[in-house]
Symmetry: C2
Subunit: 231 residues, 2 copies
């Protein structure tokens, strides 16, 4: 080391950031599979073992990518939520914003999301490690619902954010598989399904729908959320 700069910041953080930045650059450069831990280490000027000191596995490096996207999405959503008032417009705006942000990464998306579907991976959207990011996303959708004047079965309201999150996962799954130019098919899917959601929410007030909604909400409460500790 031939620099005399009086670095007062923690060396540790600098190394960690250096490794993560290098990794994300190589991921974007050559894709996930073709990026090796040795390559990341060499490019960053550290040893392989050092990369593993900061990141438990190659997959854990991708977590940084997710965090970055989440943060950008929350920001972009705020702009939408501050201007739109109708449920449909709010939902469409928020999901469109996600697509806008994720588009540059679409060609590497498959490699990233491949691991996301593995329940044993910490990158799974259902994993405990992803809980903060998940809560964040659901929080945005809660704002989408609660900030609108949409009328609905009052029993539906508390669980609507979770249901919308499931809907969002479906959109993302479609997006990952979407081979059309600029993922225009996903845009079309959004354009056409958001109004469907909107109308379905409205219909939840119908008397015939009430018991159906009540049971659906109950199922979500009983089986979707209360993940048992299981340790």
């Amino acid at each position: 080391m031939a620099d005399g700069a009086p670095t007062t910041a923690r060396k540790s953080d600098a190394t960690r950031t250096l490794i993560l930045d290098t990794a994300l650059r190589l991921f974007a450069d050559r894709g996930y599979e073709r990026t090796t831990m040795r390559g990341v280490a060499t490019e960053a000027g550290v040893s392989v073992g050092n990369a593993y000191y900061y990141f438990d596995s190659k997959e854990h490096l991708v977590q940084g990518f997710y965090d970055r996207i989440s943060e950008l999405h929350v920001q972009a959503s705020r702009a939408v939520l501050d201007t739109e008032t109708e449920l449909g417009a709010r939902l469409h705006g928020v999901l469109s914003a996600w697509l806008d942000i994720a588009t540059p990464y679409h060609r590497f998306g498959p490699q990233f999301f491949r691991n996301a579907a593995n329940p044993e991976s910490p990158l799974s959207p259902f994993s405990p490690e992803s809980a903060p990011a998940r809560e964040l996303a659901i929080g945005v959708l809660r704002e989408v619902a609660d900030g609108s004047a949409a009328k609905m079965d009052p029993k539906l309201r508390p669980e609507l954010p979770e249901l919308l999150w499931i809907y969002q996962m479906g959109i993302v799954l479609y997006w990952v598989h979407d081979r059309s130019a600029g993922q225009r098919r996903t845009r079309a899917l959004l354009d056409r399904t958001v109004p469907l959601i909107d109308r379905a929410v409205g219909l939840s007030r119908l008397r015939v729908m009430r018991p159906l909604i009540a049971e659906a909400v109950s199922v979500v409460n009983d089986l979707l959320y209360p993940e048992p500790p299981a340790h």
Copy 2:
């Protein structure tokens, strides 16, 4: 080789089956990750290279699992479809049968769904290579719907099998992530959501629902199925 049996059947097929059987046994035994190609080869009494002569990769062994499960499921479904007449009972029976068959392999379910989310893998349920298995599964669900006397919006009927297939994918996703003993939570999910589906199908006849159904069916037709060639 110390056996003098005059094997007249094609040696090739026997070896292939031997390797696949051994692999599936080890998968069920110790799970996907902890099963090694060397282990499969040793256990089957062949060389590693030989396993690769018949299967392009470790993942391709999973395709064998996929095919076998599909076949068993079609058989088991037939029994259900021959005895049950109500839509709910038929759907529940068919999906229960799937769970019955898949239970021994729950441990390597993660691998199963990893492929589902990787659009580049030929093992993805959405890939052209999986088309036959997919058609088979949708065919069973078409029988589920058409063989029942359930009344519904006539516009819904032709697309109901595809929609039920999506529902089934959701159940499988939940199952893969289900950590409860014997996956009883997935059973509970089935017990409670099948009646919901059943009632929702019935409600499709309501006048207020018609335009919603029509648009949903149209979306499925336009965006879900017609995968462009893109080669």
